[in-house]
């Protein structure tokens, strides 16, 4: 079954096809949730919520492209909502043995963990912008659509967050 057939069957109510779609997209959804919320447990909860919602909504999703966009949009926005309601941003303590953030195959694991830690200190919207840009490779236009944010706000978040990260990583601004 190719991707288009699988999507069409999932839309038509084929459970096996829906499960296959979830298997295909769970990595992306889980990672957005994890980078945003900073906790594996919270990321799992959010991932489950998103896919349960997908099960109810799949019939109205227009295309595979729309599905990808919808998953990123819903995950990022729900994560932002959760962070806004939390008493403080959940901070995962940096731990070299923790496999939580990384996948164990990093060229410079210490720096990358450091970067992820700095990311966790950004505001929820700024964090979402960076995750969608550098993890999901969305361009600013699509980020603006997904987060229902003006394009200039997206660009501003990118600019200021990168500057902040550069400074704190000890790099000079180019």
């Amino acid at each position: 079954m190719n991707g288009d057939e699988q999507f069409a069957r999932a839309r038509a109510g084929d459970t096996a096809a829906l499960v296959a779609l979830i298997r295909e997209h769970q990595r992306s959804v889980y990672s957005i949730a994890l980078r945003m919320l900073g906790s594996r447990e919270a990321a799992e909860d959010l991932t489950q919520e998103v896919f349960m919602q997908l099960g109810a909504k799949i019939g109205s999703i227009a295309s595979k492209e729309h599905l990808r966009f919808w998953l990123r949009q819903v995950t990022a926005n729900r994560a932002i909502d959760q962070l806004r309601h939390a008493a403080r941003f959940p901070m995962q303590p940096l731990c070299e043995e923790s496999p939580l953030f990384g996948d164990g195959e990093e060229a410079d694991p210490l720096l990358q963990r450091h970067l992820r830690g700095l990311l966790a200190e950004l505001s929820a919207p700024a964090r979402a912008v960076l995750v969608l840009r550098y993890q999901e490779d969305l361009d600013p236009v699509d980020i603006a659509r997904a987060l229902e944010m003006p394009i200039n706000t997206v660009k501003s978040h990118l600019k200021r967050s990168l500057e902040s990260l550069r400074t704190r990583c000890g790099k000079t601004t180019v």
Binding site: I61, A62, S63, E65, V141, R145, I151, L158, K159
Partner: protein, 185 residues
């Protein structure tokens, strides 16, 4: 041009051009659209949508007003009596002829219709004509014919279509936005 200016520009274009025309007692914003079975047979992709008031009503009953996409669609279709689409995509140029849409254009030559947009692209050879039927300052119907080298689309919307709300849907339903400055920082 920024997104806001482009939208304003389009709105001005629409409303400046939509001079109320004489509306005869019998002016009907619903076009007689055939199924175009011949074109469908040649097309690699066809979209044929025929939604009368009962189907539109059924559709809106299954929309969730708390969902932003659904709410936006509800706002657009509220007050409509019909949406009719015939769209065909071909895998080669010249698969359809101007004569295929001649019958539609003849209907749009009726006094009740006013062509408010006429674009001809020398680069892409894509032509788009948009017509409105108005009654005073109220829109009663919209017709669109988009002729591209490998695609033909005819849209007829019957009822008080709100163009501003329609344009606000840009970027939803998986359709990317166009003409927005996407330069990266």
């Amino acid at each position: 041009m920024s997104h806001t200016r482009r939208r304003l520009g389009l709105a001005v274009l629409f409303f400046a051009c939509s001079v109320p025309g004489p509306v005869g007692a019998a002016a009907d914003p619903r076009l007689a659209l055939p199924e175009f079975k011949d074109l469908a047979g040649k097309a690699k992709e066809s979209v044929v949508i025929t939604m009368d008031p009962s189907l539109l009503g059924m559709a809106s009953r299954f929309m969730d007003s708390s969902d932003p996409e659904d709410a936006a669609a509800i706002a657009v279709i509220k007050g409509l009596q019909g949406i009719y689409v015939r769209s065909f995509t071909f895998d080669r140029d010249g698969a359809y002829q101007p004569a295929d849409v001649e019958a539609i254009r003849r209907q749009l030559a009726d006094p009740g219709w006013k062509r408010v947009v006429e674009t001809r692209s020398k680069k892409t050879h894509a032509d788009v004509d948009i017509y409105l039927m108005t009654d005073g300052d109220k829109v009663r119907g919209l017709a669109l014919i988009a002729s591209e080298p490998r695609a033909l689309t005819i849209v007829n919307i019957v009822g008080a279509i709100d163009l501003d709300k329609l344009r606000k849907l840009e970027g939803q339903f998986g359709v990317p936005k166009f003409d927005v400055d996407s330069s990266t920082p």
